[in-house]
Amino acid sequence: MDTRFFAAWLEECARVVHEQRDYLTRLDAAIGDADHGTNLDRGFTGIRQALAEHTPPTPGALLALAGTTLVRKVGGASGPLYGSALRQMGKALGDAETIGLAELADALETALQAVRRLGGAEVGDKTMVDALSPACAALRLAVAEGIKPQEALSRAADAADQGAKDTISMQARKGRASYLGPRSIGHQDPGATSTALILAALRDVAVAWAES
């Protein structure tokens, strides 16, 4: 997986987030402040613009730039969290020009750690961690099993999707939704949902890549 692959991923993220903008905002309206979709749309549009101006030479530099752009454009809780996640992922990938599945799995794990360190959320707190964490675990397992990338990333996407759905029954303990206490139960977390979209985008790009 090279720089073009990761650029395609970010492009696909931008497309999907824009498409699902109102859906994410509606989810956030139920238990937050009705801005998650617009926040991420602004952020990924920013990434698109930044990459149009200049595409960094390596996957690591690309993701670092993407992360920095999110921090600079998004604001809210998701800006620093997703921004740091991508930034740390970029750092983890170093200067390598192509990335293997194992390195990607490690980098995603670094992203998860960045989110957890910054936001302090554990699995079960009804946040993006509930989608990202099972995705990391699924990817790690797939790497251990030696499965091919598009298959492995498909499992990671499924795990993230299931993780997002699992947030429905949770009571939020982090972020705005926690103010609602038990009233947060019954709603899907917007951040976990966007994480699932981002991982589905990764899968889709990997599948398209494998086909071409």
């Binding site: 905002t25 801005d35 921090v71």
Partner: protein, 330 residues
């Protein structure tokens, strides 16, 4: 949804353009989204800087000026600003005596201000932060992101701003800000939800005869929903919640705040009830504000903030202030 806007995307920029035209005392950088005192930094003075999502006007930009904030960083509607804004504001306004960030306790604000503070520290500018978390509607426990920062923010900004004006060192200004926060409590009640320009529909649904108790300032649903009552009944709910957390005795400052869509005449009705409640408890209202100070767009409802004053805080409260939204003594 009908709003006096040109485009949901450009609301914040357009409003900043309006602020720039409306207040010659402010220097508004629309591109970088920062609002500064036009006078620039004052050497030897701690720069007091705040910021947060837009939609809470006059907070924060309306409090930029002598005796209060040096700069404000408005984010998108209900979205905390990004670190670049705080960084730029701090660099332009610091006078060599360090920077105080006044931060409302929301995950987004906390994280973005934290990143800005780290970056500033790397550049060798001393930074301290006061975290405001006065909203008793939220349980402050490991099961939540902690109490929200609401009405007390106005008080912290006024009082730290007054102290900074005297040339007090950063540590003192920060501690005083924390003290104001520790002595303050708030509770809010909504009669209607609000409509953000981006969402275009109410952030929650309320029946024609329901009110939402324990709301924050972002149109988020509150703790519970009850049938609408009289002003007296609603004030009692809010004040009991505050009094349970911070016994209301001695001299107090009271702010009865409108959420943005509440007629001023109703705020006075509410204030009368708050004053009666405090009299009953034996507290003495020595300072007061009644109006729109920290709002949620067009939401109808109110919040009450009470701060237990001492002599020093009273003096700092009374000190001259000259901002678009709070002005006395000059």
């Amino acid at each position: 949804m009908k709003k006096l806007i040109n485009d949901a995307e450009s609301v914040v920029a357009d409003a900043l353009t309006g602020m720039a035209a409306a207040h010659p005392s402010l220097s508004v950088d629309v591109r970088n989204r920062i609002v500064l005192r036009a006078t620039g930094p004052r050497p030897g003075k701690v720069a007091v800087i705040s910021g947060g999502g837009s939609g809470h006007e006059p907070l924060h930009a309306g409090y930029v000026g002598y005796g209060m904030l040096d700069a404000a960083c408005p984010g998108e509607i209900f979205t905390s600003p990004v670190p670049d804004q705080m960084l730029e504001a701090a660099k332009r306004m610091h006078g060599g005596a360090g920077v105080l960030f006044v931060v409302k306790n929301y995950t987004g604000d906390v994280l973005n201000f934290e990143m800005a503070a780290e970056a500033l520290a790397e550049e060798g500018i001393e930074v301290a932060s006061v975290l405001v978390n006065d909203d008793v509607a939220v349980q402050d426990s490991v099961y939540t992101a902690g109490r929200r920062g609401t009405g007390a923010t106005v008080l912290v900004e006024k009082i730290t701003g007054a102290l900074a004006e005297t040339g007090a060192p950063l540590a003192d200004v920060a501690i005083t800000g924390e003290e104001v926060n520790a002595r303050s409590r708030s509770f809010g009640i909504a009669l209607t939800p609000c409509v953000t320009p981006a969402a275009g529909e109410p952030t929650f649904e309320l029946g024609p005869n329901e009110v939402e108790l324990g709301i924050g300032i972002h149109g988020e649903p509150g703790r519970t929903r009850i049938p609408a009552g009289t002003a007296r009944e609603l004030v009692r709910i809010a004040m009991d919640a505050i009094n349970e957390d911070l016994p209301l005795t001695g001299d107090v400052l009271v702010m009865v705040n409108g959420m943005g869509g509440t007629p001023q005449i109703e705020l006075y009705v509410v204030f009368a009830e708050v004053a009666a409640y405090l009299r009953e408890k034996g507290a003495t209202v020595t300072r007061r504000l009644v109006g729109n100070y920290i709002t949620s767009l067009d939401m109808q409802g109110f919040s009450v903030t009470v701060c237990r004053l001492d002599e020093r805080l009273t003096l700092l409260w009374d000190a001259p202030v000259e901002t678009p939204a709070l002005r006395w003594g000059r």
